[in-house]
């Protein structure tokens, strides 16, 4: 039985995963935190916490609040910085068979460039995922991913600095996600992750203020699955690059929906908090599905939909 997928078909090196189930950035730390609970080498790939040029402390508390079938988060990219990632984490990853993809986040084009350059040729790094849901400090704080031109420019900056496969992670908080997807593909993205968290809010009735100090926060979890599925479907129709579905995936059934909507792979985020075995259960569920369908490959099993 073959569950493998290729995420960078246009790269010479490619980015082949043994199976299409990845962990989503920010929900699986640097890959080590869950290692005593989860057989991480069985995962299709691990995506690291978002990494910035310098270490970041993150946002004030409270950083999370639960909402119906979901959660809002405003972590503020707390991370150890790219240097520590290269020095302390990558050597561990180099010994693993599971590919590790580093998620990067910058405030300016130049920061994205330097982040990509810092990862070039580092053993243990299998690819880069570019988080374009960050505000562009040089342009009044407008989010890179909300504008096709800015999104394409970030992609070009990263592309120029690295020979690694480049995945661009889109924000769902835009009017027409297809325009951004097409711009990013044209700028050289090998694959697209659809999508990051949806903006949302919750109020503290006692304090009569938003629970999260910044007000807005990112909504994730089962509550967003139909929304993310719709966006993944839209993007898959608009580009030829592989699409990685992400948003509320908690079961093999959810994963199959994204695959049928045209995604090549999926990422599991919040569901891991609920059940650390979620990704493994999804892989096993996909294997069972192939068996039931009497198919040898994933493509055969789900390739009928796409409309």
């Amino acid at each position: 039985m073959d569950l493998s997928v290729e995420l960078a078909p246009k790269r010479k090196t490619g980015l082949r995963l043994e199976n299409p189930v990845m962990t989503a950035s920010g929900t699986f730390g640097y890959g080590t935190e869950y290692a005593s609970l989860v057989d991480i080498q069985r995962l299709g790939a691990i995506v690291s916490k978002g990494v910035t040029l310098r270490p970041r402390k993150g946002n004030p508390q409270p950083r999370i609040v639960e909402t119906p079938a979901g959660m809002l988060n405003s972590i503020g990219l707390q991370n150890i910085g790219i240097r520590a990632v290269v020095r302390e984490k990558a050597p561990l990853w180099a010994e693993w068979s599971v590919p590790v993809i580093v998620n990067i986040a910058g405030d300016t084009y130049d920061e994205f460039r330097r982040l990509a350059a810092a990862l070039e040729g580092v053993p243990g790094v299998a690819g880069v995922e570019v988080n374009i849901s960050c505000p562009n400090v040089d342009q009044g704080g407008m989010v890179f991913g909300c504008d096709p031109g800015m999104a394409a420019q970030v992609t070009r900056c990263v592309r120029q600095e690295t020979s690694l496969p480049v995945i661009v992670k889109l924000t769902p908080n835009v009017g027409d996600i297809r325009a951004v997807a097409q711009a990013v593909e044209e700028a050289g993205a090998d694959a697209l992750t659809v999508a990051n968290t949806f903006l949302g809010m919750a109020y503290d009735l006692r304090r009569r203020r938003p629970v999260i100090p910044r007000g807005a926060a990112g909504l994730s979890g089962p509550a967003i699955k139909p929304l993310a599925l719709y966006l993944a479907h839209q993007v898959a129709q608009a580009v030829t690059a592989p699409v990685i579905g992400c948003g509320g995936i908690a079961s093999a059934r959810d994963a199959l929906e994204f695959l049928m909507a045209g995604a090549t792979a999926v990422q599991v985020g919040t569901a891991t908090f609920v059940d650390p075995q979620a990704s493994i259960r999804i892989i096993e569920g996909l294997e069972r599905y192939l068996e039931q369908q009497g198919c040898d490959t994933l493509r055969e099993a789900v390739g009928v939909g796409n409309s």
């Binding site: 869950y34 609970l37 402390k57 119906p68 988060n73 908090f273 650390p276």
Partner: protein, 260 residues
Amino acid sequence: MRQLRADVLSNQEVMPGINLMWLRAPDIAQEAQPGQFLMVRCGDGFDPLLRRALSIHRLGTSAPGGAAQGCALLYGLQGAGTSLLGRMRPGDALDVLGPLGRGYTVHRASRNLLLIAEGWGISPLVALAESQVARGRSVTLLAGAPEAGHVYPQDLLAAEIELVAATVDGSLGHQGAVVDLVGDYWSWADEVYACGPWSMYQELARATSGQWPRKPVQVLAEMSMACGVGACFACTIETRRGPRLSCREGPRLLLSDLLL
């Protein structure tokens, strides 16, 4: 750290709105240290979604039927998650993750331990008290509650543990805050441990700043958590020594390191 389905052995209200649940969880009971916690899945649907952090309340032999490998939780019925826990019956299975975090530490040479609790903060301190009297140490447990009915039932505690109550309405023990009692025991204590709401830590910092000699106070600093294992960075606490993850680098921190 493991994830397992633990059988519920008993689940009873022991104070108004506060339940004590015993689980059969030999693997966890063997590893766990007082002050550590479990991430508990409440129900099996998506609402509530996230696991709830609950301190390990007791370990070992006091489980119903004398089951040697038990582990107890003490929880207030606060919201959706704990309400679902309140409905579980003996024989049901609970999906738990743990033991997690860093628990209290006791210096080998210490003889006399002072424990200070408010509300369900008493939960982890009972585990600490029981494990230490079993090792021959003297333990005084100061317990603050709104009124007598909310003071931890003495008959559930090992006889060697001295429980001193403070109630807001004076219906049992000292009338006032539990922190008022600390001065009486300060010089006796070799080490001091606390668990309670943030407001108690503020009062405690004020009350102990004038005490001599200085003694480190180990507290459990609890923040909302999503993963419980250090992967999501939700539970970061700013301390005088920099940011600390409550779930992995805590929940035990020194009172003097908290920015209160």
